[in-house]
């Protein structure tokens, strides 16, 4: 169907409305606009989303196998945090020996990817030279491109073919400020703001279709717009901040921080006074057992930890 037909349809419907706008404020849109503008935009956006999801799956491919040493490095770090998380579930001697072992390993950089690399003070290596970093950056670029290109194309398509169509009416009122934005290309001063142009319909689809993609493509689809990614980032802020691509991490520094964390971790074995804990839990505690709950050892322990830190700092200064 040539676009001239659209234009004629559109004009006649607009004429009608202008005449009746005064009394009834009723504007009837031509069904041809629905069939040839409203539905095609929605269907095209839906299909492009599905296509993009599959293209992204194809491009991304299988994740690259990380190097053995790199895995070891990150797992060593994880060991420290695991020890801190579950510290009360193991007996004191087990905890202290693990702590001693891990702090020593961190201190000497046993698990570093390349332990012979220069320590602090040297600027981080250029990410361009490391093939791993390059790979990560390329991955991000690919995703960006697959995000941007289809949206630009669709927007251009809508601007080219459907500019100036009044497509639909929003079922809620808006202030006049939105007029220039929602009715771009429609030069009518008196028309209600809630009548929106095809470009606004495009934006409505862009933001609204993400839940449809969730339904048809599954949870972690790559079809949605930027909003989807933003929501994901907000939800998994921890994960997003952890993996900053293109930024080489100085594992030596992280190890040192973990060592410090381990040093200040106090230990309080859960089975230490388990009889009293169980009794107290079921409300059977007597005055004698309650008064016997150890308070002083804990304080003593804190002191020893502090002392250890002080000793470590002194040793550092000396060396």
């Amino acid at each position: 169907m040539p676009s001239g037909v659209f234009a004629r349809h559109f004009c006649t419907s607009l004429h009608l409305t202008m005449a009746t706008l005064g009394e009834a404020k009723q504007m009837i849109l031509d069904p041809a606009i629905r069939d040839w503008v409203l539905l095609p935009i929605m269907v095209v956006m839906l299909l492009v989303g599905v296509l993009r999801h599959h293209i992204t799956v194809l491009i991304t491919g299988t994740p690259k196998k990380p190097q053995l040493k790199a895995v070891r490095e990150s797992k060593a770090l994880m060991r420290g945090s695991q020890l801190r998380a579950f510290r009360n579930a193991i007996p004191p001697h087990a905890f202290s020996s693990r702590k001693a072992f891990l702090t020593e390993a961190y201190d000497q950089g046993k698990y570093l990817k390349n332990p012979n690399a220069p320590k602090e003070g040297v600027p981080a290596p250029n990410p361009m030279t490391d093939p791993d970093m390059m790979e990560g950056m390329m991955e991000g670029m690919k995703k960006q491109v697959t995000n941007m290109v289809p949206q630009m194309l669709i927007m251009g398509w809508i601007n080219f073919f459907f500019q100036g169509f009044v497509v639909i009416k929003l079922p809620f009122p808006l202030t006049l400020r939105f007029k220039s934005m929602l009715q771009s290309g429609v030069d009518t001063r008196d028309m209600d703001v809630t009548w929106v142009s095809s470009l606004s319909w495009y934006f409505l689809n862009l933001f609204g279709l993400s839940s449809v993609f969730t339904l048809i493509l599954g949870d972690n689809n790559a079809a949605g717009a930027g909003v989807n990614d933003m929501a994901a980032m907000g939800g998994m802020a921890g994960m997003a901040s952890m993996a900053t691509p293109g930024q080489p991490q100085d594992f030596n520094k992280i190890f040192m921080a973990e060592k410090e964390n381990l040093m200040i971790t106090s230990h309080d074995w859960e089975l230490e006074s388990i009889e009293e804990k169980v009794l107290r839990k079921y409300g059977k505690s007597t005055g004698i057992t309650a008064s016997k709950t150890p308070k002083s050892p804990e304080i003593k322990k804190e002191l020893t930890v502090k002392d250890k830190i002080k000793a470590a700092q002194k040793a550092k200064k000396r060396s």
Binding site: I168, K169, L170, L209, S210, V212, T214, D219, G235
Partner: protein, 115 residues
Amino acid sequence: MSADAQGSGTEDVHKYVPLYMAHNAKTMQFARAGLAAISGSAAGILGLKNLYGFAFYAVNWVLISFLLLAIKTQFKPQLFFKGGAKDIFTDGFIGGLLSYILFHTFLYGLVHLYQ
């Protein structure tokens, strides 16, 4: 004791298995996506206008959240989500609203605008 009270927030983290957490979030998101599409279509067909449309969404939101709380979590949201009941009632409200507006507008237009 004091150390326990301080660290309880961070200590509880290891009690949640990330895989299960992700699955729970996914299940909830599915319910939410369905809610947005279906309630938006219903509002459009009913021809709700102005604030009634948003009120309809709010009512449906509270209803589905309560159903999730009652049926899926058996009133024990703490077992399924880190944030507990707060997560169920707040997560994804805006994203759902956008989809709701789309479907509301679309069905409203199809049923009441085009004759």
